[in-house]
Structure formats: C-alpha cells, structure tokens
C-alpha cells in the first residue's frame, strides 16, 4: 500500500478513527469463519461523505477496501483477504427515524440488529431478519449478506424487508436506490442487487427498512421422532398445509446429544430427531395453526407431538448449538445448504449415509421450513487423513444438494468459504454476467476483491 494513501487518510481521520498499528488492526482481521488476514489499516467513517472519501482514495490507488459490520459472518465475507483497508461501519450507528405510521425505519449500517428490535418493540413492530448473532451483529451486515434466521420461514429474508438504500459504489459515487413507499417501479431495482452482494458492489451507508407488526401472541410445539427420515416427512407435511409456522427448526440425533451432554435429563433417550415449532398471530390464529401443525406432525415414526408451554429453555439450547460445536471438535466445516422442503427426506437420509460411509462426525440442524440445513462436519485440522475424508464427504453432500434442486448456501453467503463451489451451482455464462455487473459498480475491483466469485 502506497504511503500516499496512508498520509491522505491521516490528514482526513483523527488517530482514534484510523488504526495502522498491527495490534489495533488485529481485531479486524477475522470473522466467524476463522480465517485470519490482517488489514494494513482500519478506518472508522462517521458519515457517507467520509465513506466516499475513503472509497475514492482506494479507487485512485487501487487499494482493496473491505466493508465490515461486526464480523459475525461465517463465510469470511468481511475478512481483509488481500490486505488493504478494513472499513468498519460500527460507528455509523444511529437510528435516523422510526416511522410506525408508515411501518418504516431509516438506519445507519452500524446499528445492531438487537438495538433496532429494542427501538421497535415499544412501538409494536419488529424487523424480521433474526440471525442467532442478533445481539451483536449489525443491520448493515445483515443486508450485505441477505441474512435470515428461524423466522424466515414465515417472514422472509433481509431482501424482503428493505425498501431503499444509500450506498457508495466502487468509484466513490453516492447512489440512492428504492423509495419511501411500499410500492415503486421507477428505475432498476438496485436495492435488492446490493443486498446480499457481500460488500462487493457498494458500501451501504443508510437503509430504509420495512417493519412488521409484532405478533400478538406465539405458541410452541415440539415433535419427537424415532428417526430422521420420519421427521423429514413431517417437515414436508407441515409445509404443505396452509398455516405457515413462524419457525420450524430441525435437530438431528447428534445435535440432540450435544444438548443432552449440556442439559442431562432434558430430552428423552429414544428420540432421534426433534422439531421445534413456533406459530404466531392472534389467539385464535395460534389455536388454529397449532391444531393444523399438530395434525401434520402425525407421520409414522412420531413419538410425541405436543404443545410446549415453556419453550424458552429449549430455544436457548437450540441457539447454543453453534457455540457448543466449537467445544466438541477443534474445527467444524459448517455448511448451510438448502433444498426444496419436499426433498428433505432425501437430503437428510443422504447426509446420514455419506457421513457413515466417510466416517465423519457430523451434527445437522437448522431452518427446516426453508429446507435450510446447517450441516456441520466435525474435524481435527491436524489429522490430514480425516480432513481428506471430510472434504470428500462434503463434495458429495454438495452434489446431492444440487441433484435435489438445492442451493449451496441458504443464508450464510459465499465469502471465501464457498467460493470454489460456486461454479457447481451457477453456470459460467451467468457468472460472467455477474462479473460484468461487478465491473459496472466497481471498475477497479477494490470493493472486497476476490470474494464471492470463484
């Protein structure tokens, strides 16, 4: 990195908003993917003009610039892989407006998901994307990755809940996309093009969000199964009836064993698969949905399906699964494949067979209502023979997913982690078209370069 750009940055940003000491930069070198590549500098802009100024310098000097929320992504999307500058949006963290009459909010990208929810709750609203990192991940990061979570099965993903953006392209231009109405068709939909683009097209500096009224009440259901396949059939049956649950989470036996280890006595021994289901709405809606879902749960292999009056402990256990995995294996290969729900029996059965054939420890759970399963292969990176088996197993899992009309990532994104596998899902012509779009937004390829594309 040329000294000129550093000196230009120093003249524009005070020392507490420009880190260059490697010790200070350390915390901006990684995310939840465990990749580690330190930036040469970290800049903390306070407004759109400062973002534009940094982008223009990077554009001029051809220096990589990696926008960053709170680094909670699991695919390496915010890791400064090629060095350069980390652009931390964490200090652009104001909620600019809450407008319940129009069901909208305007926020800066560094606002935390939970801060937003806390601001909305007293007004009777929420913003549906609910990744498990909600208390410490930023809304800007949620938008950059098109984040989702358990409630996506009913409420959709980040792109469904954003109306407009202000964003800075790779040339430093500030663009304004979308509108402040629930309908609008003037010009191209750049809003949803930028959402999910992992910081490779533009830096989001402001977002207009669509709000959803809080459900008046929620109900919980658990359904225990003797085996994975019968549970997968129940998932398909639940999703084929008209009452959409507000969450439909699947846990396989290995996931249940993790919980059993931490919470002895919480779960019965003969259960090999569990559904945790939430329904929401008015009291009468919840009653109707509960009845319909309990009926759909009744497939061969059901041990028991019942209303769960206090699901808090169970949800806490479900949320703790990802961290628990860190305890049982030095490394997990964490995938988040998705298939059409009717193909879940084939997917879950196939994963069991593959894990047995390759003798790879694995834990599978996730957002079954979207067909979105977190497949975790537990490995020791120092055991090269085991790593080889795991890689071969993963390769076959991907082939299986694609043969079932699935996608390699339901919500985590491509980042660095899934980059090599993109050509198996997206054909060469379409990748070329995406690269042309990238070129149009960022001609010098400075915004998060190398990410997303193979």
């Amino acid at each position: 990195m040329s000294p000129e750009i550093l000196s230009a940055l120093s003249s524009q940003f005070p020392p507490d908003r420009l880190f260059t000491d490697p010790v200070d930069c350390y915390a901006y070198a990684y995310d939840n993917s465990r990749n580690f590549r330190p930036p040469l500098a970290v800049v903390f802009p306070l407004n759109a003009e400062e973002v534009q100024s940094v982008v223009r310098l990077c554009h001029e000097y051809h220096v990589p610039l990696v926008p960053r929320g709170r680094g909670t992504g699991t695919a390496g999307g915010s890791v400064p892989e090629q060095g350069g500058i980390a652009l931390s949006l964490e200090r652009m963290n104001r909620i600019l407006s809450l407008d319940p009459d129009n069901r909208m909010a305007i926020i800066e990208p560094g606002v935390l998901n939970q801060e937003l929810q806390d601001g909305l709750k007293p007004k009777g609203f929420f913003w549906p994307p609910d990744p498990s990192s909600a208390p410490y991940c930023s809304v800007g990061g949620n938008l950059a990755t098109c984040a989702a979570g358990p409630h996506a099965v009913k409420y959709g993903v980040a792109r469904d809940h954003v109306l407009g953006l202000k964003a800075v392209t790779g040339t430093g231009d500030l663009i304004r996309t979308g509108c402040y109405t629930t309908k609008g068709v003037v010009g191209y939909d750049l809003t949803r093009l930028i959402v999910g683009s992992e910081g490779t097209l533009a830096v989001i500096v402001e977002a207009t969000l669509k709000l959803t009224p809080l459900p008046r009440t929620t109900g919980g259901i658990t359904a225990q199964y003797r085996d994975t396949t019968s549970c997968a059939h129940a998932i398909a049956a639940i999703m084929a009836q008209p009452f959409i649950p507000s969450a439909l989470e699947f846990l396989d036996n290995n996931a249940l064993n993790l919980i059993r280890g931490r919470h002895p006595g919480m779960l019965p021994d003969d259960m090999r698969a569990l559904l945790m289901i939430e329904v929401d709405g008015s009291q009468s809606e919840v009653a109707e949905a509960t009845e319909a879902v309990l009926n759909a749960c009744k497939v061969d292999g059901l041990i028991e399906a019942k209303e769960a009056n206090d699901t808090k402990a169970l949800w806490a256990a479900r949320k703790a699964l990802s961290p628990l995995l860190r305890d049982v294996a030095p490394k997990k290969i964490n995938e988040d494949v998705a298939v059409p729900v009717s193909r879940l029996p084939e997917l879950l059965g196939g994963i069991e067979q593959l894990a047995a054939r390759y003798q790879v420890a694995n834990v599978n759970f996730g957002h079954a209502g979207n067909g979105n399963i977190h497949v975790n292969l537990l490995v020791n990176p120092d055991d090269s023979e085991e790593m080889q088996r795991a890689e071969a197993c993963l390769d076959e899992v991907f082939s299986l997913v694609l043969s079932l009309d699935g996608t390699l990532s339901g919500e985590h994104g491509v980042g660095m982690a899934k980059r090599p596998f993109v050509p198996r899902e997206i054909d060469e012509t379409t990748i070329r078209m995406m690269k042309s779009v990238k070129q149009a937004f960022d001609p010098n390829n400075i915004l998060n370069p190398g990410k997303l594309f193979p």
Copy 2:
C-alpha cells in the same frame, strides 16, 4: 433494418411465426398507453433457443428488439418506439410445472395471469400479483413491469413472488438466476434486477414463481365519507393498526360519479369518498380483522362503515373504472403516483386544490393501502389550451408527490410515458449507475432501446 437480418429470420422462422406485412404488424404497434409505433417485423419464438437466436441477430445488426407480452401496459413499455423487431412471447405459454408441496410453479412468459390462477386454484394456491388486466395479461409482462394490484397491500408485488428466472441478455446469452428454494444467497440477485426492468436488460424465457395458499375466507367492508380528507385520515388509521387488509381501495367523488352514471341508485348522494376494503384469512381472523378495521374507519367525516355481504357488484364497478374513463373523455393522462400512507391526506387534498386551480377534470382512485393513487386528468387532446393547463397541473402533482417522499410510479412503470420525469425522482449519479448496468447486460443497446431512461 438491413435485408440480411430479415432473410436470416426467414430462414429460421416459418411464415406464421414471422410477420413482416404492415397489416399483420399493426396489432404489435401499441399498448394501453395509446402510443403507436409499428415494428418492421414481429417474431414468435417457441423456446429459449429461438429467443437467443433472434437476440443474437439483433445484437449483430444493431436492430432494436422489443419484448412483448400482451401489450396491456399503460406506460408504453412494449411499444416498438424505434421500429425494429417486436418479440412476441405469447406462444411460449406453457405451465411447465405446478409443485404445491414446495409452493412453486415454473412457467413460460406467455402464460396468462388468469390461466396460472386457474391452474393453481384447485391445488389451493394463488399467485398474488393481480393487475385489473389479469384475464388477458401475461405473467412475463407482469414480471417485466413488477406488476401489482389491489392485493399488493397485504401480499406484495411481483418481485416478492419470484424465485428464479431464465433470461436472454442483450448479447444472446442465456442466464439462470435465483434458485428453487425459498432461501438462497449464492451470487448476485439478478432475479429482482431483471424483474421490473421493462425488457431493457434481458428477455425472460422462464420463471420460477413462489405460490401463496388461498385464503380460506374473505370479508368485505365499505366505508363512506363526507369528504376526501377525512377518508385519507381513515386510510392512515387502518394501515397504522396491525391487521393488514387484503385490499384497501379508495374512490374519490368523481370516480363515484362515474359509477353513479352507470349504476343509478347504487351509491348514496352525500358520499364524497369511499373505501372498499377486503380482509382475508380463517373465519376467526376475518372476524378479528373486520372489527379492527371498522374501528379504524371511525374518524370525523365518516357517514357509515359496515360489513358488505355481497361486494361483487361493487368490485365489478371498481374494476370497470378505467374503461369507463375512456368513455367520458377523449384522453386521460393516467398517473399512478404513490406516497407513504401517512401523507395521503396531504396528497389527496393537494390534488383537489391543483385540479381546481388549473380547472382540469380529474378522477382519482386506487390502492390506498400502498399510498398508490391513480390520478386521471381528463383532457381533449385537440384543445391545446386545456392540454397546457393539464400538463402544468401534472407537473405540480409530481412536485407534490416528491415533496411527500413519494414515487412517480407505484406499479405502471416508466416506459415512454414517465421517462421525462425520471430525473426528478432519481438523481443523475444513480441514473448513470443504472445505465452502466444496462450497458453490462446489453452492450449494443438493442433491448427495448430508449425506454425507462430520460
């Protein structure tokens, strides 16, 4: 147009799928905007390969190519303004798959909206976009314009109900966007970029649609008001409470007078504004929503709000408004502005004042729950003085809309009609970015050239 391209087309398409006689081409020269510009030829492809072949020829010979569904648009989007070739997708009209278990359908672009609904209804589903032309407009056209209709207030617009596309770019490349799952984040969201791009980026040759379960029951409510302003306040109150109606249509007094003329005695004389409201869901949901909406209707100026047991005649009258307008004036200037619902009192009051000041006959109605009002200025094109007043009035209506954080088009699109006004809503930098995207998809500017941009 060079003779070479015509001879190449003749060698590939039989005479019944290649029109060159001006008499045959006539029907492909216009849409519902009343613009008329005949193409030099009309081609009827049967599959993606044939679309690619036509696009490649047009790319090579720099000939304009205008994709076309059924020509029901109101903004001139499908009019072959620069001559060239009209690409009629009407014979690519197969429903390729209905998959109720996964709530998806795959269709060719020429399938009519109503044909799709008819295919889905026995399976318990519908596809939410419901323009009033549903019986004779194509799903491909619905996607190209990001169409909506009365039910968008609850169910959203076309972009919310599409999961993936096959499309042919301006170079003749076939791209595949999106996925066959309800969640997916691999690669850029080209799906929603192409939806609403009015055929300027790519020709949609196949679409994977997201289906919605049919509501189990619906209920109707009408609310009559003494004046527009009180009615506008009621709209805002209805949308500020948590039960979202499945339709919330507003009719001003001039719209009511049109219905009075056709259906004497149907509507009371002292009503100056009417809301037609639909709620849907299970019986208990409908009961709860009806009660909540009736409460919200109670603002100063209400004459009566009541459940309407048979709303069929009223909905038929509402649907007939656009055609009725054709009868009362030689020409209508038909706009579909949208503002945040809380600003509707200012918008509707302002339009009344402007119409009075400029002495322009006008009829206003539309999808009030989205703040989306169809403003119709009734004019005689042969009366140049009246036309001048109408243009000046329209100009001030647009200024008013933008001052209220609104958009110039909620659902009709830009096409030719709103092109000159785009720079008042979208800044120059953002328009330039959109043009770069257009350039990336269509480097020779052959796909619907001149549309959408100022």
